[in-house]
């Protein structure tokens, strides 16, 4: 069915689409390999009232993965699907003073380091290319928060939550998106710098000192990762909500935009 109110519009440049989609497997590998490293010294707890501190992740040095059990769950992973947690376990379920384990995996520190310190290059280069492209092409104008962004962001969130009926004025990225997509770049920079500081603490001792030392840099590095996971969840939920036309634009570069939006977009 044709719609007289729709018009083909260029939305996302090719470079940004490549950066965006390349970043998905790269960040996934960085998070997964980072967790393998983290498990060797899983010190961060989240206090949960009533149950005592919950260790978000825990390395289980005693038990190994059961490949057969896992093949049943992840048959699409060829070879040895050791990428996945073997079991959900609880240590001392009756003793509430002991941390509860909600995730466990065999000790694979060397493997995690190998992947992490190989893919860090591609992750970093992809980020640099993205920032350079947006800066040079002028795309940053749509992405970087400016005057009115906060107002627009609040309006967007209120409208999304059905607390405000009238939609905010249409723009390529709404205020909330501008804040989120710029924050994620700042977070990426933070991960790269804290990562470098932990990786070469003697060589870049000044950088390490800026982050407050080795333990602090590792702490920031870890929680930025949790930040990506939260970003990812919200991002995917919003993409689902925004619908097919919006998603398709990130693949094809084009969207079918309402004609009356022309004046707004200039």
């Amino acid at each position: 069915m044709s719609n007289p109110n729709l018009r083909l519009e260029k939305k996302h440049p090719l470079a940004i689409r490549w950066n965006h989609w390349l970043n998905f497997p790269l960040l996934a590998v960085m998070i997964w390999s980072g967790l393998l490293i983290y498990w060797a010294n899983d010190v961060y707890h989240v206090p949960v009232p009533g149950t005592g501190p919950v260790r978000i992740f825990h390395e289980n040095k005693e038990s190994g993965a059961d490949p057969d059990e896992l093949k049943g769950i992840f048959p699409f992973v060829m070879g040895a699907p050791k990428y996945w947690p073997e079991k959900w376990t609880e240590e001392n379920p009756d003793d509430r003073s002991k941390p509860r384990l909600i995730y466990s995996i065999k000790n694979r520190l060397a493997e995690g380091m190998a992947w992490h310190f190989f893919f860090m290059w591609f992750f970093t280069i992809n980020g640099i290319v993205y920032v350079l492209f947006t800066a040079i092409s002028g795309q940053w104008r749509y992405l970087v928060p400016q005057k009115g962004t906060i107002k627009h962001a609040i309006w967007t969130v209120l409208h999304d939550m059905h607390l405000k009926k009238q939609p905010p004025p249409r723009q390529k990225f709404n205020g909330a998106q501008q804040i989120a997509y710029t924050s994620i770049i700042v977070m990426g920079l933070g991960s790269t710098l804290t990562g470098l500081a932990i990786y070469k603490p003697t060589q870049v001792w000044w950088l390490l000192a800026m982050f407050g030392g080795y333990g602090a840099a590792r702490f920031i590095h870890f929680w930025l990762m949790i930040g990506y996971v939260l970003f990812f969840l919200i991002h995917v939920a919003q993409v689902v909500r925004a619908g097919w036309n919006n998603f398709r634009a990130m693949i094809t570069g084009y969207e079918l935009a309402p004609v009356e939006a022309e004046a707004v977009n200039g």
Partner: protein, 289 residues
């Protein structure tokens, strides 16, 4: 993925046509939706190729870093090995060597920074060790000689003491005051044959099964002659305790803890890279911080 044609405004068409389209209502917009379909088909084909390519690439990497062994019941079992990652790790290390100086000092701290030590790892430290009979074997000396040294010989070398942050490859760390003599002064006094690129250090015990020492590390020569690299026999101003490597251990703060071998029995100069316990387990052999 781009389709520049699709972006050409329909306004470029001759005016009469536009009027015709207008009179036909939605006909012009049908064009845009049809174009979108065409662009989508092409883009999604590319996307499918990219997803498939990524999947294949990861499988290749995975296969090239997997060693197939058998488990206890004889079933095939996949085990990770460095494989293709070994060259990636070496590339990282060569970048680091080019980018940074091998003589950068690790920050030192006042005594007030000292925290509780963590005892970690007893590889090569069997209980039957008798410190009174301990001697340090030195191999690969000028003239291809080997000698044995006592603590008195070691103590006569250049003294050094500092508080530094000891960093384990697992991610934990502590602040400790270490005291001893510089490895540089040791190498200066006990000169090697030729110009070896490495120093290998081993614990004095020999495993009856493997005929190898319980623990052994390789140190590259620039790291060995780094001014902070220390043959350590004091911790926190007191004699080193057995679980921390008495009578003599290596403290090399610009390398991970795994390189800070306890209870040194042998020091061997070597042109080739000496065996390294954790490198054999798939860790980076350089381990430089």
């Amino acid at each position: 993925m781009d389709n520049e044609d699709a972006n050409k405004p329909d306004a470029a068409a001759p005016k009469p046509l536009e009027e015709v389209q207008a009179s036909q209502g939605a006909a012009a917009d049908l064009g845009d939706e049809a174009k979108m379909k065409r662009i989508s088909r092409r883009s999604f084909c590319w996307a499918a190729l990219a997803v498939g390519g990524t999947y294949l690439a990861f499988n290749r990497i995975h296969a090239a870093s997997t060693k197939w062994t058998k488990d206890a019941s004889g079933n095939p079992m996949a085990e990770w090995e460095p494989g293709v990652f070994r060259s990636a790790l070496r590339f990282d290390d060569s970048v680091s060597e080019r980018l940074f100086s091998t003589t950068t000092l690790t920050p030192t701290f006042p005594d007030s920074a000292i925290t509780e030590a963590r005892t970690n790892g007893d590889l090569g430290l069997p209980d039957d060790f008798d410190p009174s009979t301990w001697k340090l074997k030195v191999e690969g000396l000028a003239g291809s000689k080997s000698i044995e040294l006592t603590m008195t010989d070691i103590r006569s070398l250049q003294r050094i003491e500092y508080v530094t942050q000891f960093k384990c490859i697992e991610g934990w760390s502590y602040f400790m005051k270490w005291g001893g003599v510089t490895l540089a002064s040791f190498i200066e006094k006990y000169k090697p044959e030729g110009a070896p690129s490495f120093v290998g250090l081993e614990t004095p015990d020999v495993d009856p099964d493997t005929k190898r020492p319980g623990y052994y590390v390789s140190i590259d020569m620039p790291a060995a002659i780094h001014p902070q690299t220390m043959l350590c026999f004091e911790m926190n101003g007191k004699p080193l305790e057995p679980e921390h490597g008495a009578p003599l251990r290596l403290i090399i703060p610009h390398k991970y803890g795994v390189k800070n071998i306890k209870r040194i029995g042998v020091i061997r100069y070597s042109k080739e890279m000496p065996a390294d316990y954790w490198a054999e387990q798939g860790y980076d052999e350089y381990a430089g911080l």
